[in-house]
Every structure is written in structure tokens, then in C-alpha cells.
Symmetry: C2
Subunit: 372 residues, 2 copies
């Protein structure tokens, strides 16, 4: 088996838990936030910088790498780790989310999905087997089954049909995946916002026995409350001794709510995308650095933050960089935001261990300015 | 005095020389190439990265910093060193070159230059006194007199009048500059491509006794041969025990020719600008990384290069980054190009010391592909 998941501790006050995920490229402590390196680079960052902020695992995108530079090139380079100079764990998504986001540029059939490249309009076809073939070539430690990410809102009938196909595709992915000693294949639970469909999806996938399970189709535009409801009934029923991965979640409140309900892994482009727009995450809420109020503010983004950015630069300087579109601005912001989330998850792990998770969350919410 | 220049060695085979330039922020070995950080950041780089490639001094631009964020803000931040987190020497140009490049957006009078901001069209006035006031606020170790950078080509009459005004302005700069214990003011020799005017400019400025002299108005579009002719007659007449700074030169051949004639310092945006366009400088000539030929090239940019980029990444990966407009691409290229030039200057210093400068230059030219 490519991975081994050890459940180390379960909170007595909520569903939160501590674990360790052993992969061919090292151990990941859970709960964990995974920075996203869509195109084989976490935007603006070097691998060394990611390590210096203690990133343990990153995510990369099958769909983008398939189109450019092409999975064959990544494979020839010695795989994704070597291609991008990152020797710690990597997870690749299956491309399902991106392909289904293409709207009328794609056609779904039982065999797979036909779509046009956003780059040159060329025709492509991805099936469950193809998604596995590409991911085998990329060589990530954890790979994902090809699914249909059901949009929100969707009718019960559509969601049911889509969920059932996702299960059939998961089975085909499992049958196509032979590199099981080096790459762990996770299945993705769908079923939209319908409880019986979510539970049915979970059952069908658990019957197929995957080394890990992801929750897809959340954080796709539904109200936060609805996401929490799904997690409330779904997560406790997921296998206890396997990692639980909530896809596409990266804002502090979503992370807190997910971890509280027993989620182990999450990823999102939000912290890095926000960073490039000059939005900084801090314990006291967001800072929009381009605002004129920071023009003569010679204090750091956050006095208490231990990141490279906060230890060396003032708001006035960072604002100047953003106003001038200087690349260093996006770099400093990315370092800060990723450090913030990774450090928050570290604090969360300590709080779980100390049985003060709910208190920690409460304090954070008040300071951050969430109205709860 | 803010600086001290010690001439350490003079080549027996040509005009090349070794020196050390002591500044309030450390010692600079000459001949030296100075990376340009126009807007208080060497584009894409952190100060730590600049140090890791052994950059000893950087240049920043008075004109840009005056417009944004404003000299007052930099001063309030504690000066340019602290503002940008760079504790080694800095040189600021006077803004003359940028202001005179504005064409019909500016009007030259004896008092100074009226010009419109390229940002918002607002009206501004820079005089010699104002240029010094701004540079005093910025606080660089070496500051430059406000000059008129005579364009190429220019008539004899225009060049003469312009040169004479530059001398008068240099005098006014000197009179306005009082922070002489912390900032050394260099004068800029003008005179276009006319020998008698260049010699007259030199004489007038030397009479005023500056701690260092720059050669302006070269590398402004004239043939390389013409630049070398000017350097041939001008540099040997410049004060021996003061640093000689050739402005705006950064291609390897220009640097070699300048150093051979006795130039100690040079700067140029070329290596960093080329980098962001995906052009890499190597001993074997330029590599345009976006070319399809590099698509499956898993070797480094230069097998023998010791820079971070060459030690960790393949051409195929770097090409992928550039094709995808990923910021890491420009970072890796900037690191490489600056390392290349800084390391070349280090090799040049060793070759001068070993009395094999001309041989070293010859070998380099052959390998680089210069037709000489």
C-alpha cells in the first residue's frame, strides 16, 4: 500500500481528530491544509520557501498538466516531484472538477468526457481510465478518482444519476490503477445537498474499498450552513481509519467547521489567489494592503506573526510593491497567507490534543470578526 | 567622507584595475556590476536572494521613488535601506536620465526641469537642489548629481550647451549636498560623442572635486565601437584614485570592454529585463527558453552554472513556467542572469589579478559567440 493512515487521537468534545498519513514522500500530520500548485508550481513560491513555512503536502492539477506541458513530459522528467523539485508528498486531483467547470465546452457520456482545450480549442477526451493513466504518469503520492462534481443547485434526479455514474467511474478508476504500491487512489463522495444520495454515494464507494475518501461537490456556491449540514451527517459515517479529505476549502471558518466535524485534509487556491490580489489573512481579519490607509503604516501586517514577510517588511513597503505591480508583493503576500493557514492548522492540532478545540475556535472567531 | 576608494591593483596589459570601495553599508569589490532595483525592489528578488548570489551593491531610481511612494514616505520608513530590507550599499541615480527620456512631457530650463508624471499627468519640477533633497531623504550610500543625459545623436552645439549646464548643475548639487559623511555625491561626465566636450566636461567636474565620477550618455543607442572610442580617450584621464562608474551598461561584451579601459562600476536593467522575457545569459550565448526545442530538454540551462536555478531545474520545467506565465519562471531566470553577471565580474577580478584578463576576455568572446 502506498499510504498508511494512523488515527492518533479523537477529540472528546467534537468530531475533530489527529492523525498521521505516511506516504512514499514523507509523513503528513492531520488535520492539514494543502497549498495548491495548479500548474506544478505553488504560484510565486519555490519548494524551499514552501518547506520553510512547513508545508507538508501540496496539490497539483491533472487537467492543467495534461494540457500543458503534457503528462508525457512530466513522466520523462522523472515524475512531478522531480519536474518541480518538490520531494515531499503531492496529491493530484483527477481533472473532474475542471472538466465539468467547462460548461458547454464539454459533453458527458458514460465512457467519459469530451472537451475542448481552453488553450487552443483542440478536442480531448478524459475517461476514468485516462485520468488514472495521466495521474500514474505524474506520479503523485495520492491520486483522485475521476468524478462528476455536481453543481449547486441541481435537481434530485440529476444529482442521483451523476452520483451513480461517479460511483461507476470510481470502480473503473480502481480497476485501471495498478501502481498501488506507490500511489494511493482516493474516491470522491458526491450526492449534492441530498442526504440519502450522499449516504448512498458513501456506501457504494466504501464497498469498493479505497485507501481514502474525499468529499466533493461542497464549497461550490452553497451557503456555509448547508455545507456544515452535509458534513454533520456524512463525516461521522465515513471510515474512521481512513483519511477524510474535503476538497476546495481554505477559508479559516470553513476549515474550523470541517475539522470540528472530523475532516483530516483540505485544499484551496484562496490563500494564494487572495495574496496575489493584495489581501492578507490575519488573526484580526483581512487586510487589503492597497488601501490608502496603509500608505504610511510602517508596522508589519501582523505584529505577532512569525513569517518572513512580517518579520522584515512594513505595510507601507508592501503596499508600495502592490501599487507598482512588483512581483515581490505577491511573493510576500503568498508567504504570509500560506504561513498563516499552515500555522493555524498547527495550532488547531495542538488545541485538539489539549481538548480545547472549541474554545480555540471561539476565540479565533471573535478576534477574526466572524459573526457567529 | 562617506566613501573611501582604494586602488588595489592595476593591470599591466590593459587599463583594467582592482579596487575596494568602502561605504557606510559595507565594502564593494571593483570592478562590480550593480543590479537595478528601480522601484526599491530588484524585480522578483528578495534581499536574501540577492545576497545569496553575492550582489554587493544595488541601484535604485530617484525619479520613480519620488513619484511613488514619495521620498517623504521612504524617509519616514527610516530610509531606503530599511524600507526595502537591504542593508548593503545602495546607489541612487539622480532622475536625470528618466526625466530627459520623457520627451515632450518635460521642459528644460536653467533652474531645472518641469515634467508631467507618467502616472497621473500631474506637474512636477526637479532642480539640482531638489534632486539632492530627494536623494538625501532616500539615504543611499552613493547619490548622483542631476544631469542632462545628452541623446544620441546630438549636434555639437546642443551637446556643448547641455554639457555646460550639466557642469553648472553639478556645482549646485554639490552646494546643496550637506550629508557628505553618509552619502557620497558622484558627478556625471557628459559631452556626447565629441572628444573635446567630454574632456572639457571631465575637467570642469574634476575642478569641483567629487568623490567619484560617472560616465553618462553612453549606451544610449550609439554603435559599440563609438562607446569604446569615448572610453579610450576619456577613462585614462579620469582621476585614478576615485571610482569610475559607467552608467547603463550590462551586456557581457560592454562590461568586458569597459573594464579593459579602466571602468570600476556599471549597472543595467538588461539582465533582469531579459530574465522576465525568458532570455538566459550563459557562457555559450543566450538561451530563449520559450523555444519549442527546449520542450523535452531535461538538462539545466547551463551544466556548469552553480546558481540555484541551474542546480535544481530543467529547461523543460522552466519553459513550462514561462509558457504558463508562472511567476516562478521570472524568478528563476532573474536569479540565473544576475548570478551569471555577478559571477562573471568575480572571474574578471581574478583574471585581472592574475594578469590574464585579455586572454580571459578572448576565450569568453569565442565561447559566447561574439564576432570579434
Amino acid at each position: 500500500m502506498a499510504i498508511e493512515f494512523n488515527l492518533l487521537y479523537e477529540s472528546k468534545e467534537c468530531g475533530a481528530r489527529l492523525g498521521e498519513l505516511k506516504t512514499p514522500h514523507g509523513i503528513v500530520e492531520t488535520p492539514i491544509f494543502m497549498p495548491v500548485g495548479t500548474k506544478a508550481t505553488v504560484k510565486t513560491m519555490t519548494p524551499e520557501e514552501l518547506k520553510s513555512i512547513e508545508a507538508q503536502i501540496i496539490l497539483s492539477n491533472t487537467y492543467h498538466l495534461y494540457l500543458r506541458p503534457g503528462a508525457d513530459i512530466v513522466k520523462e522528467a522523472g515524475g512531478l516531484h522531480r519536474f518541480m523539485n518538490w520531494d515531499k508528498p503531492i496529491l493530484t486531483d483527477s481533472g473532474g472538477f475542471q472538466v465539468f467547470s467547462l460548461g458547454n465546452l464539454r459533453t458527458i457520456r458514460e465512457e467519459g468526457v469530451n472537451f475542448k482545450s481552453y488553450i487552443d480549442g483542440s478536442d480531448h477526451f478524459i475517461s476514468p481510465e485516462k485520468a488514472i493513466e495521466i495521474q500514474n504518469a505524474l506520479g503523485a503520492d495520492i491520486i483522485m478518482a475521476f468524478d462528476e462534481c455536481t453543481p449547486y443547485p441541481a435537481t434530485y434526479d440529476y444529482t442521483k444519476k451523476s452520483m451513480e455514474r461517479t460511483s461507476r467511474w470510481a470502480k473503473r478508476c480502481k480497476e485501471a490503477h495498478h501502481n498501488t504500491s506507490k500511489q494511493a487512489l482516493f474516491a470522491i463522495i458526491q450526492g449534492g445537498m441530498y442526504k440519502d444520495l450522499r449516504m448512498e454515494s458513501l456506501k457504494q464507494l466504501v464497498d469498493l474499498d479505497f485507501p481514502g475518501y474525499a468529499i466533493g461537490g461542497l464549497s461550490v456556491g452553497e451557503p456555509a450552513q448547508l455545507m456544515n449540514e452535509v458534513l454533520d451527517y456524512l463525516v461521522p459515517e465515513m471510515p474512521k481509519n481512513k483519511p477524510r479529505y474535503l476538497m476546495g476549502v481554505g477559508s479559516p471558518d470553513y476549515l474550523f467547521e470541517a475539522v470540528e466535524r472530523g475532516v483530516d485534509m483540505a485544499d484551496c487556491v484562496m490563500p494564494t489567489r487572495m495574496a496575489r490580489n493584495g489581501a492578507f489573512m490575519t488573526r484580526n481579519g483581512r487586510i487589503a494592503i492597497k488601501n490608502a490607509v496603509h500608505r504610511r503604516d510602517f508596522t508589519p501586517i501582523d505584529d505577532h506573526c512569525e513569517c518572513y514577510t512580517c518579520k522584515n517588511y512594513s505595510k507601507a513597503y508592501i503596499r508600495h510593491l502592490f501599487k507598482e505591480n512588483e512581483i515581490l508583493g505577491g511573493r510576500l503576500a503568498t508567504i504570509h497567507n500560506l504561513f498563516f493557514l499552515i500555522n493555524l492548522m498547527k495550532d488547531i492540532r495542538i488545541a485538539i490534543r489539549d481538548e480545547r478545540y472549541l474554545e480555540f475556535k471561539d476565540t479565533f472567531y471573535k478576534q477574526y470578526g466572524y459573526i457567529k
